[in-house]
């Protein structure tokens, strides 16, 4: 293959090829070329994401008088309205994640058990919403759930209720809308991981006399847990920073973290406080993803590459 055959020096170690320097220079040139290909993309990410976030972090360290202080962070523990925002955010995130598991696990399980053709048709029901504008889907839920919306009209026509149920512009509306938006983020990674479970393991269990339920409980379910965990983490993290649905469906009563950031910066122009909120949100997000990566050894962000 190569015209250079490595000779051995006196110590028996391979001698460096006589054109080693030329090869090194070549490798360096190659690396420079690849870096050039990456440079524009990296530059944009650096300029639009890293620099502004770094800048905001810097701002968050100063109080309104321009003095270095932790006032922007201390406020989170002192002011009841901030504490309420965090409590609401985590309450929504936990509820939505729980709802996604309850709805998403059976769907992913069904998809993984269907023949390939049927599964790919059913997958359209997950992928189409995934790629439909969040705004469009939130609007749809507003129309369906509002006071004179579909659900209330139907239930009242059927005589089930006499007064319209409060479904939109409150906690319930936010949870329903967000569950719809987050569900594909749970189903897609979970389905992908369920597909990799070896059917022979399940068949072996059944051959040895386990009932279908026992096979599921003792073999399938434990093997599906890593995929479930990955979906859970990504949904939870996305919920923490979610803006559009709570802003439109919360009726001003459900103030989540991201809305608080928007209000603090746009409405009150308090950049230090808004930035501090952002820094903590980013820290919590990265900590959760890092914890997941450390515990399971895989990244939770696979959902975007496994479409």
């Amino acid at each position: 293959m190569s015209i250079v055959s490595a000779s051995l020096d006196h110590a028996g170690k391979p001698d460096r090829a006589f054109n080693a320097e030329a090869l090194d220079a070549d490798a360096r040139r190659e690396a420079r070329g690849m870096l050039a290909l990456l440079s524009l993309g990296l530059f944009l990410v650096f300029a639009v994401i890293i620099v502004p976030i770094g800048w905001l972090f810097w701002l968050s360290l100063f109080d309104e008088g321009g003095q270095l202080s932790a006032a922007n962070y201390a406020r989170f523990f002192e002011q009841a309205s901030y504490i309420k925002t965090f409590v609401t955010t985590f309450k929504v995130a936990f509820t939505v994640t729980g709802a996604c598991v309850l709805l998403g696990y059976p769907l992913a399980y069904m998809l993984s058990q269907l023949p390939r053709r049927a599964a790919s048709i059913c997958l359209i029901f997950v992928i189409l919403p995934f790629w439909t504008s969040v705004l469009v889907r939130t609007y749809a839920w507003l129309v369906i759930l509002q006071r004179k919306g579909l659900v209330n009209t139907w239930l009242m026509d059927l005589g089930v209720i006499s007064q319209p149920l409060p479904l939109a512009n409150n906690f319930a509306g936010v949870v329903i809308g967000m569950t719809h938006i987050m569900l594909p983020f749970l189903v897609l990674p979970l389905y992908a991981s369920m597909k990799t479970i070896d059917v022979d393991c399940l068949r072996a269990g059944m051959n040895l006399g386990a009932s279908p339920a026992a096979t599921f409980r003792q073999i399938f379910f434990p093997l599906s847990l890593p995929g479930l965990a990955s979906g859970l983490v990504i949904v939870f993290v996305l919920c923490l920073g979610f803006f559009v649905t709570p802003a439109l469906m919360g009726g001003g009563k459900v103030i989540m973290w991201a809305m608080r950031m928007e209000q603090t910066t746009s409405l009150y122009s308090n950049w230090g406080a808004g930035a501090a909120l952002g820094v903590v949100l980013l820290a919590v997000t990265l900590a959760l993803l890092g914890l997941f990566h450390w515990l399971l050894g895989t990244r939770a962000t696979g959902v975007w590459s496994r479409r």
């Binding site: 639009v48 609007y139 009209t153």
Partner: protein, 266 residues
């Protein structure tokens, strides 16, 4: 999974599972279907199913100068974002795939950062930066911000195409005298073009549907469609939005089908 691989459980035993899965699928698809049907309603109350049918909300959409301007802005930004993100993303994916650089983990993390960093933080940060360099309310600013958000999708899609491609083919072309660029454009690109086109479509739709960052950095003459929709929804539920939503849903279906078709061509 082929059928002979299936477990000895009959479909009948699984009826409950199919019923449950079907309900969840209904939950996922129903909102879009309902909006599409309602958008053809003749009354301003948006009843379902509509008592009378009409195209008045479509007329109201296409007849309004404001909505039309916003749509034009969104299309312009999405087309430019798709082009820029495809060029930068494909170049980056090629470089990552070549594995000649160290720190690939860090490079990957940076390029895909916009997927996990809360969008609200990107929105506020971009607004803050743009306020200082005069890019707020400009098309350029929107394209740059959207490109950063679309970049990871292009990189990941093209990378998955490159992973199933044998790079030795490009080496062969180069050893036969082809230059670096002609080897890529004549040998590699035709074989990964389906991934590249998919990446472009994903970039387009990412930009077209983007709300949060646009909310901060677009305005005035560069108000995007999603920003105008968001503000309209904050005030009251205007049935015109049902017609616009239907157009957006159709756009998603068309682009996804195109991506699927291209993907199958592989």
């Amino acid at each position: 999974m082929s059928m002979e691989n299936a477990l000895p459980i009959s479909h009948r035993q699984r009826l409950w599972l199919y019923a449950l899965g079907g309900l969840v699928m209904l939950f996922l698809i129903a909102p879009s279907v309902i909006i599409v049907i309602m958008s053809f309603s003749g009354s301003s109350l948006l009843e379902f199913p509509p008592q009378e049918w009409s195209l008045r909300w479509y007329e109201s959409y296409f007849g309004s100068l404001e909505w039309r301007d916003a749509t034009v802005v969104s299309v312009k930004v999405a087309v430019m974002t798709a082009i820029v993100a495809t060029l930068l993303g494909t170049a980056a994916a090629y470089a990552i795939n070549a594995r000649t650089l160290r720190l690939t983990g860090l490079i990957n993390a940076l390029l895909t950062a916009s997927l996990i960093i809360p969008v609200i933080l990107i929105g506020i940060g971009t607004f803050f930066l743009y306020a200082r360099i005069g890019l707020n309310n400009t098309l350029t600013g929107l394209v740059i911000a959207h490109t950063v958000q679309a970049l990871p999708l292009v990189v990941l899609t093209v990378l998955s195409g490159l992973r199933s491609y044998d790079m030795n083919q490009e080496m062969v072309a180069r050893s036969l005298g082809a230059g670096r660029f002609s080897a890529f454009f004549q040998v590699t690109m035709p074989q990964i073009r389906f991934s590249i086109v998919s990446g472009t479509l994903f970039a387009f739709i990412t930009s077209f549907d983007e709300v949060v960052v646009s909310l901060f950095i677009s305005g005035g003459e560069t108000t995007t469609l999603t920003r105008r929709m968001f503000n309209a929804l904050r005030d009251q539920i205007d049935p015109t939005i049902a017609a616009i939503s239907t157009c957006l849903i159709v756009l998603s279906i068309v682009l996804l089908s195109a991506a699927q078709l291209f993907g199958r061509g592989r």
